[in-house]
C-alpha cells in the first residue's frame, strides 16, 4: 500500500488541523433529528404500534430500530461519499490535482487511502448518533457481531464503489453540490433508509435494487435487529459488495478521461 497509507496519513493530518465541525454537527444533527422525530411519531401518533403494512413490508415491528439502522447507514453513506467522491474535485480546487496526476501512483490506492481515513472518521460520527438512539431507548441487539461486521464491510465497499464514478462526474463537470445531492436524494428515496422499499412503485423499487445500498441495508438490519447469522445475510452481502465492485470498476474506467477533461479545463496556452 505505498500510496494508500500515506494518503490516509495525509488526510488525518489535514483533518486534525481543520476538522469540519460544522459538517460534523450538521450530519449528526440530521441523524439525531431523524431518530428523534421517528421516536415522537412512533409514540405520539402511532401509539407505539406499527401498521400491518409496515410489519409485512419491513419485516419487523421495531420501527425505531428500523429507522435507527437506516439513519446510521444514510449518515455513513453520505459522509463517506462526501469524503471519497469529493477528494479529487477538492484537489482540483486547491490546485494540487495536477501534482497528483503527475506522479506514477495509481488512482485506486489513492482513493482507498482517502476511504480508510473517511471510514474511521465516519464510524466515530455514526457512533455519536447511535449513542443518542440507545439513550432514548432504541434497542440494537446484534447477537451475531460477525454478521454485523460483514454487513458494515459490504456497505463500506458499496459506498466506496458508488463514490468513484461520482468523483469522475464531479471533476468532469467541475461541480460537486448538484451531483452529490442528486445521489443523496436518490439513495434516501430508493434504498429503504427510513421506510421499506416494498412500499415504492415497482419501477422505483427496481431502480433501488440497482443501488448496492438497498441490499446492504437489508443485510445490516437483518444482522442488527433480526438475529440473522452470516449465512442468512450472505446473499445480500454478495449482491451489495458485487454491485459496489461493478460501480468501482466503472468509476476507475471513467476516471482517466475525467482527469484529462479536468486538466484541459484547468487552462491551456
Amino acid at each position: 500500500m505505498p500510496t494508500a497509507l500515506p494518503t490516509m496519513r495525509r488526510n488525518w493530518l489535514v483533518t486534525l488541523r481543520a476538522y469540519p465541525w460544522t459538517y460534523f454537527i450538521g450530519t449528526v444533527a440530521t441523524g439525531v433529528l431523524t431518530v428523534g422525530l421517528a421516536y415522537l411519531a412512533f409514540h405520539a401518533i402511532g401509539g407505539g404500534q406499527v401498521s400491518a403494512g409496515f410489519l409485512a413490508d419491513g419485516g419487523t415491528g421495531d420501527y425505531l430500530g428500523y429507522v435507527t439502522v437506516g439513519a446510521a447507514a444514510l449518515m455513513f453513506a453520505t459522509r463517506m461519499v462526501l469524503w471519497v467522491a469529493k477528494a479529487q474535485i477538492t484537489e482540483q480546487r486547491e490546485g494540487t490535482l495536477e501534482s497528483q496526476l503527475l506522479a506514477p501512483a495509481r488512482r485506486l490506492p489513492y482513493l482507498v487511502g482517502v476511504g480508510l481515513q473517511a471510514f474511521t472518521t465516519t464510524v466515530a460520527e455514526v457512533a455519536v448518533m447511535l449513542a443518542f438512539a440507545i439513550a432514548i431507548g432504541v434497542r440494537l441487539p446484534a447477537p451475531d457481531p460477525l454478521a454485523l461486521l460483514c454487513a458494515i464491510a459490504a456497505v463500506g465497499v458499496a459506498v466506496f464503489g458508488l463514490s468513484v464514478p461520482l468523483s469522475a462526474i464531479m471533476i468532469t463537470v467541475g461541480e460537486a453540490h448538484i451531483t452529490q445531492n442528486t445521489l443523496f436524494v436518490g439513495m434516501a428515496l430508493l434504498c429503504g433508509f427510513t421506510f421499506p422499499p416494498a412500499m415504492l412503485p415497482d419501477p422505483l423499487r427496481w431502480l433501488g435494487e440497482a443501488l448496492p445500498l438497498t441490499s446492504g441495508l437489508r443485510a445490516l438490519r437483518d444482522a442488527a435487529l433480526h438475529h440473522a447469522p452470516v449465512g442468512a445475510v450472505l446473499p445480500d452481502l454478495l449482491i451489495c459488495a458485487g454491485l459496489g465492485a461493478v460501480y468501482l470498476a466503472a468509476g476507475l474506467r471513467l476516471l482517466g478521461p475525467a482527469e484529462r477533461i479536468a486538466v484541459q479545463r484547468g487552462g491551456a496556452a
Binding site: T96, P104, R260, V263, A268
Partner: protein
C-alpha cells in the same frame, strides 16, 4: 532506445465546449500543430512563444497530463500515452505560481507525501527532503504550515516537489514567476547545475534574459507551430536586427561628425546625433553588423576624442518580438 524527449508531428485540438440545445460551434484551430522537437539530456532547451502559442499545452502533453490528438511524444523511447506511468517516473513538472502543494501540511510533510507517491525508498527520501529543503532555502520553515508561507516560499516548495523523484527530465513552465530576484537567480543556478549533472530541462519563461542565459537551444512556436529553432545567438542573428553602437565625444568635433555621417551613408546604417546628460556630443549607429570598430577608427582618424563607447547587441527578446511582428 532514443535518449531524450522527442516529439513528431505533435498536435492537440481541444474540442469546442458543448452547449445544450445549441448548435456545436466549428472545430477550433489546433492549440499545438504538428510540433516536432528534441529535448536532449544534460542541457536546458527553451520553448518560447507569445501567450496562446501552445507552450503550456505542449508541456502538459509531455508531462502525460493531456493526450495528443495526433503525433507522438517519447521520453527515452517511452511513449507518453502508452507508457505514461513509466514516463511519470522519469519526469517532473514545475509550473509558475504557488499552487501544486498542500496548504494545510508543512513543507516537510508535503515533500514526504509526494516522495511516497513517487515510491522513493524511505532512507533515500529522508536524505533527499533535507537536501531539497536546503536547496530552496526552506530548512528553517520546514515545520511551518504552507498556508503561512509567503508566495515565494510556496513557489520554492513547489520547486522542491518537482525534484523529489530526482527526475531525468524536468519541465519548467514559467518557474520563476512571482519569485524575488535573488531566489530566481538561485533557481537559475540550480537549473544550470541540474543540466550539468545530466538532467534534460525544457524551459518556458517570459523572462527572455533567463532563457538566453540558460538555454543551449531554443524552439520558438507561434499558434502551435514551430517557427524557428537554434541557439539564442543563431536566433538573434537570423532576424538581422541591428546592433546599436553609442559613441560619446569629449568635445564637439565637426570633422569627426562629418566622417561618421560618411561612414553611416557608406554602410547603410541609421545614425542619430544628440548629447549625453553631461552635454557632450553623442552619436548612435544602428546596423545589423557591429560597426563599433569602424566607428571608433573613423572618429579617431578625424581628430575626435572619445569619452565612451557602448555596444548593445540585439537580444533574444528583440528577436522574438521581431518574429511575432511578422
Amino acid at each position: 532506445m532514443s535518449a531524450g524527449i522527442v516529439t513528431h508531428g505533435l498536435t492537440k485540438v481541444f474540442p469546442p465546449p458543448s452547449r445544450l440545445f445549441r448548435k456545436r460551434p466549428p472545430a477550433p484551430a489546433p492549440a499545438v500543430d504538428g510540433l516536432s522537437l528534441a529535448i536532449p539530456p544534460g542541457a536546458v532547451t527553451g520553448l518560447l512563444g507569445l501567450n496562446g502559442a501552445g507552450k503550456t499545452t505542449t508541456i502538459k502533453m509531455l508531462a502525460t497530463l493531456l493526450r495528443p490528438t495526433t503525433g507522438t511524444a517519447t521520453v527515452d523511447g517511452l511513449d507518453v500515452v502508452r507508457d505514461a506511468r513509466e514516463v511519470r517516473r522519469r519526469i517532473n513538472l514545475i509550473a509558475g505560481g504557488e499552487r501544486m502543494v498542500y496548504a494545510r501540511m508543512t513543507g516537510r510533510e508535503n515533500l514526504w507525501y509526494f516522495g511516497q507517491l513517487y515510491d522513493v525508498p524511505r532512507a533515500v527520501l529522508k536524505r533527499r527532503i533535507d537536501e531539497l529543503l536546503d536547496l530552496v532555502g526552506l530548512r528553517e520553515a520546514a515545520g511551518t504550515l504552507v498556508e503561512r508561507y509567503s508566495r515565494g516560499m510556496r513557489q520554492r516548495l513547489s520547486i522542491a516537489r518537482g525534484l523529489i523523484n530526482a527526475p531525468a527530465y524536468l519541465l519548467l513552465d514559467e518557474p520563476t514567476l512571482g519569485l524575488d530576484a535573488p531566489i530566481a537567480r538561485d533557481l537559475r543556478g540550480v537549473v544550470a547545475d541540474l543540466a550539468e549533472s545530466g538532467v534534460g530541462v525544457l524551459l518556458t519563461s517570459h523572462y527572455l534574459a533567463e532563457v538566453e542565459q540558460l538555454c543551449r537551444h531554443v524552439h520558438v512556436i507561434d499558434r502551435g507551430s514551430l517557427v524557428a529553432a537554434g541557439s539564442p545567438a543563431q536566433l538573434t542573428a537570423g532576424t538581422r536586427l541591428p546592433y546599436s553602437v553609442e559613441l560619446t565625444l569629449t568635445a564637439p568635433a565637426p570633422d569627426a561628425t562629418k566622417a561618421v555621417e560618411e561612414l553611416a551613408a557608406r554602410a547603410g546604417a541609421e545614425v542619430r546625433h544628440d548629447t549625453d546628460p553631461e552635454g557632450r556630443p553623442r552619436v548612435t549607429l544602428r546596423h545589423p553588423d557591429d560597426l563599433a570598430g569602424e566607428l571608433t577608427t573613423t572618429v579617431v582618424r578625424a581628430g575626435g576624442a572619445i569619452a565612451r563607447v557602448e555596444v548593445a547587441p540585439p537580444t533574444l527578446e528583440d528577436a522574438i518580438l521581431a518574429m511575432a511582428a511578422r
